[in-house]
Symmetry: C2
């Protein structure tokens, strides 16, 4: 009986254990990973905000709910330009922002968004994925416990809204313009006065003459800002030919994910970035049709050739100065310039020749 009893007890325990293991196997299969993402933008910011939502949705569906990405907009974390630091430290697992915002911290980050007179979006994607761009971005960001990935392209950005026509380089002198970052430094070299004004105050500033000009993005995001109602000149772009946003991931967090979820996250980010390029194209096409039919007198202009030449010279000088102070910046710049010298020839004989000959 004793033996029988202990056999019985053994079987009973075995049964219990098996039931527990059975349950555990589901828990294992269903183990969820929740990643917190901080975005630089406010809640429901069009196109940019859609890109991170699109990414999170794809990741959740592909992982059958095992990978959940919770998005905090800037109203929640209150630190739109703290995304780099918050993801680096692990306060957030991911970020959605733009690499050139970190140039004050790490100068060479600037080259991974877009460069004045640089590559257009399809050229830049080719550089990232087939021309060594991703490897350079990895090399830079890995020093900060971060991984950086393309996060969505705005397509070619417009040069901005101007109250007065720019007829010569002289007209740039003293021009008060909202144009942040490197492009602002370029124009400052030619005597312009770049100013920084919060987005919510831009319309009034342009309307009341506090500033003479401003650049925002392009029709995709400019329409809702209303600048077309108060400024007659819409200049074509030179400074952000293919601005690529950025997904940031904390390296430790990424490495702690199972391999399939790492793959899911990477492909979801990649597809969402490409999708945003198509989305930006779409919104700009639609919104320009709206703007130009409601305000048919908007003058789309290109800076005269001498002005473009002066801007390009100032840009080249500034690039040279930056590269002289930073070997990594010099390396990235060299890679981009060598790549662009080749691929631009192709763009000119393919898309540009096509557009020229079929209008």
């Amino acid at each position: 009986m004793l033996i029988l009893a202990s056999k019985k007890a053994l079987l009973s325990r075995l049964a219990l254990l098996s039931v527990l293991l059975f349950a555990a196997s589901f828990v294992q299969a269903e183990k969820t990973y929740k990643l917190k993402l901080a975005e630089t933008w406010g809640p429901n910011f069009p196109i940019f905000g859609d890109a991170s939502k699109n990414m999170a949705k794809m990741a959740e569906e592909m992982s059958n709910g095992r990978l959940k990405i919770v998005i905090h907009s800037s109203n929640k974390h209150k630190a739109p330009f703290g995304v780099f630091d918050m993801v680096k430290s692990g306060q957030y697992d991911m970020g959605h922002s733009a690499s050139y915002y970190w140039k004050g911290k790490v100068p060479a980050t600037m080259y991974f968004t877009t460069m004045p007179f640089g590559m257009i979006a399809p050229e830049q994607y080719a550089w990232f994925y087939y021309g060594g761009g991703m490897e350079l971005m990895d090399e830079l960001y890995s020093q900060y416990n971060l991984m950086s990935f393309p996060g969505g392209n705005t397509a070619n950005q417009m040069g901005g809204w101007f109250q007065k026509e720019i007829k010569s380089v002289e007209d740039l002198k003293g021009l008060k313009m909202r144009i942040p970052g490197f492009a602002g430094e370029v124009l400052a070299k030619l005597g312009a006065k770049p100013t920084n004004i919060p987005p919510g105050e831009l319309y009034t500033a342009l309307d009341r003459g506090t500033i003479d000009a401003l650049e925002w993005v392009g029709p995709s995001l400019d329409l809702r800002m209303g600048f077309h109602k108060i400024a007659p000149y819409y200049y074509t772009g030179w400074h952000e030919p293919g601005a690529e946003l950025q997904f940031l991931v904390n390296s430790n967090k990424f490495n702690s994910l199972p391999e399939d979820l790492q793959a899911i996250l990477k492909v979801a980010m990649k597809a969402a970035a490409y999708d945003m390029y198509a989305h930006s194209m779409h919104e700009s096409g639609e919104n320009w049709a709206t703007m130009s039919s409601e305000y048919p007198n908007i003058k789309v202009q290109t800076f005269p050739e001498p002005v473009m030449t002066a801007i390009r010279q100032a840009n080249d000088e500034l690039l040279k100065e930056n590269a002289a102070n930073d070997p990594f910046a010099a390396k990235v710049l060299q890679s981009q310039q060598a790549y662009m010298a080749k691929i631009r020839q192709w763009t000119l004989m393919s898309e540009k020749a096509y557009l020229d000959s079929t209008q």
Copy 2:
């Protein structure tokens, strides 16, 4: 004892059942789905073949091996232009091909690859994903138990290699040119003689004068064909401004997959298609640099304006004829033309203005 025995037996059975369930839960989690894909191309065909391999690799990694896609090239299935039928019937689960190959079977399929004088790749992706293109493609293909997805863009294709300069519409008369499909019909309207010659015989045919001209793709795939060694003129493109390949999926098979694998398959196809566009850009940039440095006398030319006008007129007439015979074709054409009328304005004031003003 009887009761005891049966309790023991019950426990024993419960234990066995639990162990089996435990094992089964792993089998369930590890259940693999193998999909067979037939591609139109031969084995290791560059860029196109890389796109389906890239898709299969992403799907396998993201699914932790649960979704395996086995690729059969044309040397295996012997039916490069049987892909539509083989996927429709379920002989294959998937295909990698191009929608315009099926125009003899279903005329309106033609519009989902590229159209002469039509959209460039970024415009067309915007149309597919944000402008109603996917919905129209679904509506058409679902009638054949098929799902069709973008499968990779070649970027703008070149107009082809010519032995003689085309100076007037007169020069097209009697011109023997390898240019298949709709574009061949367009040139035939102007007196050209489109011929079809197997790829392996093209070089000799062009060299010996069996044909006067041919179009293939662009530098990305033309380099290995060697045409630049024997033909002096490389004409810019008009007939395939953004050729998008196609992933086909058998609808029944797709619906039989678990939801997470459906999501994985769709995102893997989407990312691989976009990737191929970047890959094509890259290879064309690199290969044109090679071609033009080894053969600096290649003349890149655009057809004179009266020739382009005549080609466009012939194209418009043919499009009208096609639409008159096929209400669905008319619907797709109307969607594309209305979309392009908007988005091309944006392309001209953004990318084209940028390329014009910064050369």
